[in-house]
């Protein structure tokens, strides 16, 4: 790989071919603010938050879209850039006009960092759109037109279910033709929500009971159960309930991507149909609640009687390929070591 040598904030760095200034800065631990950038998308250069000074050019350049070239001398900090960035945040906040359900999003964090309490202007961007669907909420008033969602849908999902419509003051991001997400090519993956830096797109299930902040959610990192890909995800728990599922960029098999099942199909965890006590079949043929002692005694009696009368190989054990390795290991051990049969299998064709 050809390398280039650049100077960044006075440090000499070796960078790989094709790296952007942003890549180089991050590798060196130098922070540059970004808003329209997502590592999983093509460089865009729309929001100008990442402007840096490049020696030999009159105006600052976007670090996310400028490819390193040998000999470049770049400055990422300094008062002038701070001022420029503060102005950018101010202007973006003017767009991000409404109260949003998801607090502490990327933009609002920058507002705090750059000390912009109230934007100097307010610009209300409202598009009518059909809000009918239970997963993805969209508040056009909070949108800053960074197009991350649109590009995610085009480049990653290749669904093209979001569009950047209109121009200038009438420009608008919306689901295709303002239709409901249910009636477009949208696959309800929620990737647009995950990449939105302003909370304009949000998880409806999470905000059912009002706004939430990141701090209020306890995150547990685990693995999705909806197919064999094994995506890493975080269960966000508030008040003993999973309220949303998120996934971190750069982690695991999925790099922050999830499908509609992984991201949104968690209602079952708290569903009233969940079994919450052991059940025994009574003489009336119905199932009745019982204690664990009774249930375990009945299991031992039932399996024991069959084993005694017909031998261990009259017992069969079946496991789901959705259980954990540890569960399944113990089930086959139960069959082999406790019951004495190799009759243990699952529905596992591939």
């Amino acid at each position: 790989m050809t390398e280039a040598r650049i100077t960044l904030d006075g440090r000499t760095l070796e960078v790989a071919e094709g790296d952007t200034l942003l890549d180089a800065a991050r590798a060196a631990g130098i922070e540059i603010p970004t808003l329209c950038h997502d590592d999983r998308l093509d460089p865009f250069g729309g929001c100008r938050m990442c402007l840096v000074d490049l020696e030999g050019t009159r105006r600052p350049v976007p670090a996310c879209k400028t490819t390193c070239a040998d000999g470049m001398v770049v400055n990422c900090g300094g008062e002038r850039l701070q001022r420029v960035r503060r102005t950018m945040v101010d202007m973006l906040l003017a767009d991000h006009y409404q109260d949003v359900a998801v607090k502490d999003n990327e933009l609002e964090r920058y507002a705090v960092e750059y000390g912009v309490e109230q934007p100097s202007l307010r610009f209300d961007r409202r598009g009518a759109y059909d809000d009918r669907n239970r997963f993805i909420g969209f508040n056009p008033g909070a949108c800053i037109l960074c197009d991350r969602c649109v590009r995610y849908c085009d480049e990653v999902m290749q669904c093209t279910a979001l569009e950047h419509a209109g121009q200038g003051g009438n420009a608008l991001v919306q689901p295709t033709q303002g239709k409901s997400f249910l009636d477009t090519t949208c696959e309800l993956c929620g990737g647009c929500v995950s990449t939105c830096p302003t909370g304009a797109l949000y998880e409806k299930q999470a905000t059912r009971n009002g706004a939430v902040t990141e701090q209020e959610c306890a995150k547990t990192s685990t693995i999705c159960t909806y197919c064999g890909v094994g995506c890493s995800l975080d269960l966000n728990v508030k008040d003993g309930r999973v309220i949303k599922v998120t996934a971190e960029t750069g982690v695991g098999a999925n790099d922050g991507h999830l499908c509609n099942k992984g991201r949104f199909a968690f209602d079952f965890i708290h569903h009233p149909d969940r079994l919450t006590e052991p059940l025994l079949r009574g003489d009336d043929g119905e199932l009745h609640p019982a204690s664990w002692e009774e249930a375990l005694a009945r299991v031992a009696d039932g399996l024991g009687a069959v084993k005694q009368q017909h031998g261990p190989d009259a017992l069969a054990f079946l496991a789901s390929s959705r259980c954990t390795n540890e569960d399944v290991y113990l089930l086959q051990k139960l069959a082999r070591a406790a019951a004495g049969t190799n009759n243990v299998h699952s529905c596992a064709a591939t």
Partner: protein, 526 residues
């Protein structure tokens, strides 16, 4: 998978067969989409015009159950045009002559007739696959759920071996696992002939090792496969069932027969998070278990990566972790294993299983490890068969077409095949408890081609009765050109219109996997 998922992005040719990847494995499909953006060639063999098929350079829209003729013809093209990797075949395969002879009967023209695709497309597909440097095969249940599932896989492995598309980065044969822990389930010994870690029950030394560890005598009698358990209920050899998280009444083929079997049992235990059909009808005892959010442990994904599952919540009410339940049941049966934690159970497994020996919880906190991983210093294995096939030489198989268990006839003139949709999962006990998913897709349906619809006088959305020799169900018609005339497709997710009422007794003779993918049916309109 012989390859890792990340490698897909660098593939130059993807041959996707019997896999509707964007719906069944949506996040893995993102890697394929990236490869497409980077200019990879895509060949899709599928009876339906799936999302990938629509974007494929070649879509071989074959009749269900004709994969072997297609693959043999592709092999014939490769051999007759000299596109094979001679050096690889010479050095690293065996049984070439028998294989080559078996391809002789399957010219592209003959296969085209049986498969219902163009001979020219077969030739082009063979050339692209053979002549691309990095070419990967991706398949799933569309290949395995047939009477000839094992031979289908062999036909694919033949193709990879003669072109040397194996054992290299981004080149391999990759089954995409349907359920989250199919791989792990096999790995830890949930199999009638393998003890944990793929160690054979038949091997006395292996049994002695496990006997010593488990402090008990172990049976040398090979166990029953799932399909044999099902028939065992009917012939009286199986008298009791202990079921952890499965619903055979819905998920096994020929539901009427499965029900007859369960009716004859002496005793049934169901351990699950919901009361499923099998439990409701037949369980003597139901034990309330925990879902993935309520326990610690590991899953092993399609690329053999062992990953940590972590507890976020307590199980509801009196429900308990599956581990606790199994320990209590063992104790009630007279085997006290104590209260091992998930980590201790894993360690017991890894201690006994050389391929997994090096994988321990403390090593997979951040990122999982791909087995084989023989010791603690081993980084894990990204792709298999590097340098040479694991068994030394890749075995080529002589094959021939195996017709489906059931073929169409005047009375049952349509071929029904089944699959998964993007919005539901298997028997959908979880996704159908999500309001938003039901809103998107709430009713059972069957895809009917416009031609068949016209012939039957069906309109989009019409209710219809679909019947096979074993039963009938009611569904709505979805008239679409995604399927060819003569072929129907329906999702497997809807209990009220379960495809398994229709499916038959066909199964692969070697491994017993049922032929879910081909059923002869007729449509009755009201």
């Amino acid at each position: 998978m012989t390859n890792s998922m990340a490698e897909i992005e660098d593939t130059e040719c993807m041959f996707v067969i019997g896999s509707n990847t964007t719906e069944a494995h949506p996040v893995l499909a993102l890697r394929m989409k990236t490869a497409l953006r980077r200019g990879a060639q895509l060949i899709v063999a599928d009876p339906r015009r799936t999302w990938l098929a629509e974007r494929a350079h070649i879509h071989l829209q074959l009749r269900p159950g004709t994969d072997i003729p297609l693959l043999l013809a592709m092999s014939q093209v490769i051999l007759s045009e000299g596109l094979q990797d001679r050096a690889y075949i010479e050095a690293l395969t065996e049984n070439f002559d028998e294989f080559a002879a078996s391809t002789a009967a399957w010219s592209p023209e003959r296969a085209a007739e049986v498969c219902g695709v163009g001979a020219g497309d077969i030739r082009r597909a063979a050339r692209i696959y053979a002549q691309t440097e990095k070419a990967g095969i991706y398949y799933t249940l569309g290949i395995t759920e047939h009477v000839c599932g094992v031979d289908n896989v062999r036909a694919l492995s033949n193709l990879a071996l003669i072109t040397g598309h194996i054992g290299r980065e981004a080149s391999g044969v990759n089954p995409l696992r349907g359920q989250n822990n199919v791989q792990g389930c096999n790995d830890v010994g949930n199999n009638p002939v393998y003890l944990p870690g793929y160690q054979e029950v038949a091997d006395a030394e292996v049994r002695a090792k496990f006997s010593a560890a488990w402090e008990t005598e172990l049976s040398a009698v090979p166990g029953l496969r799932l399909d044999q358990m099902m028939s065992g209920m009917l012939d009286g050899s199986v008298k009791a069932f202990f079921i952890m998280g499965e619903d055979p009444v819905l998920s096994e083929p020929n539901a009427a027969k499965v029900n007859r079997g369960f009716e004859q049992l002496d005793f049934v235990v169901l351990q699950d998070i919901f009361l499923n059909e099998t439990g409701r009808l037949y369980a003597d005892v139901v034990l309330p278990a925990s879902c993935f959010a309520e326990k610690d442990g590991t899953f092993t994904n399609s690329e053999r990566r062992v990953q940590r599952v972590r507890k976020a919540l307590d199980p509801p009410g009196q429900a308990r972790t599956d581990l606790w339940i199994l320990q209590q049941v063992a104790k009630a049966l007279g085997s006290d294993w104590g209260e091992q934690s998930p980590a201790q159970v894993w360690d017991e497994f890894a201690d006994l299983s050389p391929k997994f020996h090096g994988i321990r919880y403390d090593r997979i906190e951040e990122l999982g490890i791909q087995w084989p991983c023989p010791d603690r210093d081993h980084p894990g294995t990204r792709f298999l068969h590097q340098g040479a096939p694991i068994r030394g030489k890749g075995l080529l198989y002589g094959l021939d077409h195996v017709p489906p268990w059931e073929e169409t006839c005047a009375e049952y003139p349509l071929l029904l095949t089944t699959g998964r949709t993007l919005y539901h999962y298997n028997a959908a006990t979880q996704t159908r408890r999500s309001e938003g998913h039901n809103e998107k897709q709430g009713h059972p349906f069957v895809e009917v081609s416009p031609d068949d619809a016209r012939a039957l006088g069906l309109k989009h959305g019409d209710r219809l009765t679909m019947a096979s020799r074993r039963g009938e169900i009611e569904v709505r018609a979805e008239v679409t050109d995604r399927v060819h005339a003569g072929v129907l497709w329906m999702p497997m997710h809807f209990a009220e219109a379960s495809a398994n009422v229709l499916t038959g007794d066909g199964k692969d003779p070697e491994i017993g996997v049922p032929e879910y993918k081909v059923t002869a049916v007729r449509i009755l309109t009201s």
